[in-house]
Symmetry: C2
Subunit: 331 residues, 2 copies
DNA sequence: CTCTTCGCTGAGAGCGCTCCCAATGGGGCG
DNA sequence: CGCCCCATTGGGAGCGCTCTCAGCGAAGAG
């Protein structure tokens, strides 16, 4: 009735527990005949190793945690970033036959869980989109399992992380605007306590400065509404701007709405470029020129980096994934 | 250096392993003095129970799996449904201090994992948005851990599931259109191998029939593009329709684009109602009247149902969560 | 032909925890 | 005053697995 154990498989195959264990774990050092007999027994009983028993002795759990702040998911709303990451992580973990444990850090209880769980429940932690001042990273790092961050941590040195080339992507976007003849290029920057917000602004500044232009900066929180509000303010302060680079597609969509409300034509009067390349960008009015970032790949790469760390490779170099400008109609 | 064990806590507190175990698991049947001493020892050593050792003997893992088909996440794209569910599940699981294990079923390897993992790795399985012909449900159900479905399974009788009132929501929407004086009301239905697609169409048919109208049905796959294409076809076949109820907001947004392209004014010429109430609906042009469904709550309720099952309650009645019509400008 | 080597297999000791059962002692009751 | 009961505690077995180590026979070397 209940699940078969190694012992039963061993009895059926007429060998010892140890031999069955060897076969189940790859079969090295077992003669072909015995190996086949054991495999047959395993199949006939439908044996599946008990992970608890295994991890009790190996001290590995073969599962890794993905830690996200719930507010992240919430703030982003329509932004499929979160789902993309999960998809990438999940797909890549499948290859190494590890489990994905999802943890949330918003409530105090949640953070507490993260702290407890990461000690013995998982072999490693994937930390995603934490704000710069997040004490969680330090706490995690001090305490044991290896940590890989998604996005460059703002204040933590000596970290393993995977990031997309936010700075370069922003630079490319602004550079494109300048080459297209735009004169007064503003930006709607994201939150400055998140690396994506900071780096995209940095890229903007670099491009603007390189061409001797003046930086015109407004701030949002990556959300659509904040983009709309920021565009509104920008239009009031700098009526003659002719381009705006937005730190996220959602903010760009908001900016588009604001520009439409003010009767500015896009891209004729004002060019708009976003960042992320979410689905909505394609269907925006007009379709949004934006910087594409490979979100699912970010998830995959985090797992790959973790795998390397787990297999003893150290130090591990940070990885930065390329971004690329996708030209549509808004610029 | 390494993690402290029960034994060490016991030694420090001057009691036996059994007593420490009792305290750690609630402290019933332990005198107050001893309990405090043990708690102090636990804190001072930073003791955290080893879940593998625990689950080896209790035969519980205190973790439950959320099984989603990756294609689901992919098809939905901008649809935050998936993220919402995860959020709800995660938040509710936190309360009972259980882990969330995420599994994906798209690749053959993934399905295989689901089959293996669900045997000893998790106490229960939450199955979400599986298509009607999905053999996974039967496989899971036959084999052991309790299963709770998100969305009424199409072909599986005698199931524990939580669903939103798709039929009722659709009915309300169409009923509203009729009362608003619309004469020729079409629908763009979702895929008919998913319960949401079927039930929303059923609600539409019920309302239309009740008022003696003719059903005008086109089909999409819940995606924006499919909605746009379906609207296009509908307009060709039924040029004088004056309302359309869409099985998803994304399809409604597509329909809006199609109507705009054909020069039909919304809601003046054609009223449009969607389903889901995603963020985009609010920002559609015009803002979309839609049927709100409580996605995060769906996740929570699935967990609650699972908790009840796990604590021995049986049979468990299916739960249907209410939907409500949100009036905006498109109808 | 003997000794060493090597490939394969089995025995056994735990991993850290829970839980059953026995032991202990103090208090209430007859 | 003796006995029983109950609340509290400790002892010990064992969950299913891995892994070290020893044993064994066959094969190769001298």
């Amino acid at each position: 009735m209940s699940r078969p154990t190694l012992e039963q498989v061993a009895r059926l195959a007429g060998v010892s527990r140890a031999t069955v264990s060897r076969v189940v774990n790859g079969g090295a050092g077992v003669s072909a005949a015995v190996r086949d007999a054991v495999r047959a027994a395993v199949d006939s009983l439908g044996y599946v190793p008990n992970p608890a028993a295994r991890s009790l002795v190996t001290r590995r759990t073969d599962s890794i945690a993905l830690v996200v702040s719930e507010s992240t998911a919430q703030v982003f709303g329509d932004d499929p970033f979160f789902a993309d990451i999960v998809r990438g992580v999940s797909a890549e973990l499948e290859l190494s036959d590890k489990q994905l444990v999802l943890l949330t850090t918003d409530t105090a209880a949640g953070r507490d869980r993260v702290r407890r769980y990461t000690s013995a429940h998982v072999d490693g932690v994937l930390l995603v989109s934490h704000h710069g001042n997040d004490p969680l990273y330090t706490a995690l790092n001090a305490q044991g399992p290896p940590v890989v961050c998604g996005g460059r941590p703002l204040y933590a040195a000596n970290t393993s992380y995977v990031d997309v080339d936010n700075t370069g992507g922003a630079y490319k976007a602004v550079d494109y605007l300048i080459r297209a003849g735009r004169r007064r290029i503003a930006t709607i920057a994201g939150p400055q306590d998140m690396n994506a917000g900071v780096d995209r602004l940095t890229g903007y500044r670099a491009a603007v400065q390189k061409h001797g232009r003046r930086a015109i900066v407004a701030y949002g929180d990556f959300s659509r509404d904040s983009g709309q509000a920021a565009m509104h303010a920008l239009l009031a302060d700098e009526p003659d701007l002719d381009a705006v680079f937005c730190g996220s597609d959602l903010m760009a969509v908001g900016a588009l709405a604001s520009l439409r409300a003010k009767g500015r034509r896009v891209p004729d009067d004002v060019a708009v470029i976003g960042f992320d390349d979410i689905q909505q960008a394609r269907y925006a009015e007009p379709p949004l020129t934006t910087v594409h970032q490979p979100s699912p790949l970010l998830g995959r790469e985090m797992v790959r980096m973790m795998t390397r760390i787990l297999s003893g490779e150290v130090p591990v170099e940070p990885v930065t994934l390329p971004t690329q400008l996708v030209l549509r109609s808004s610029a």
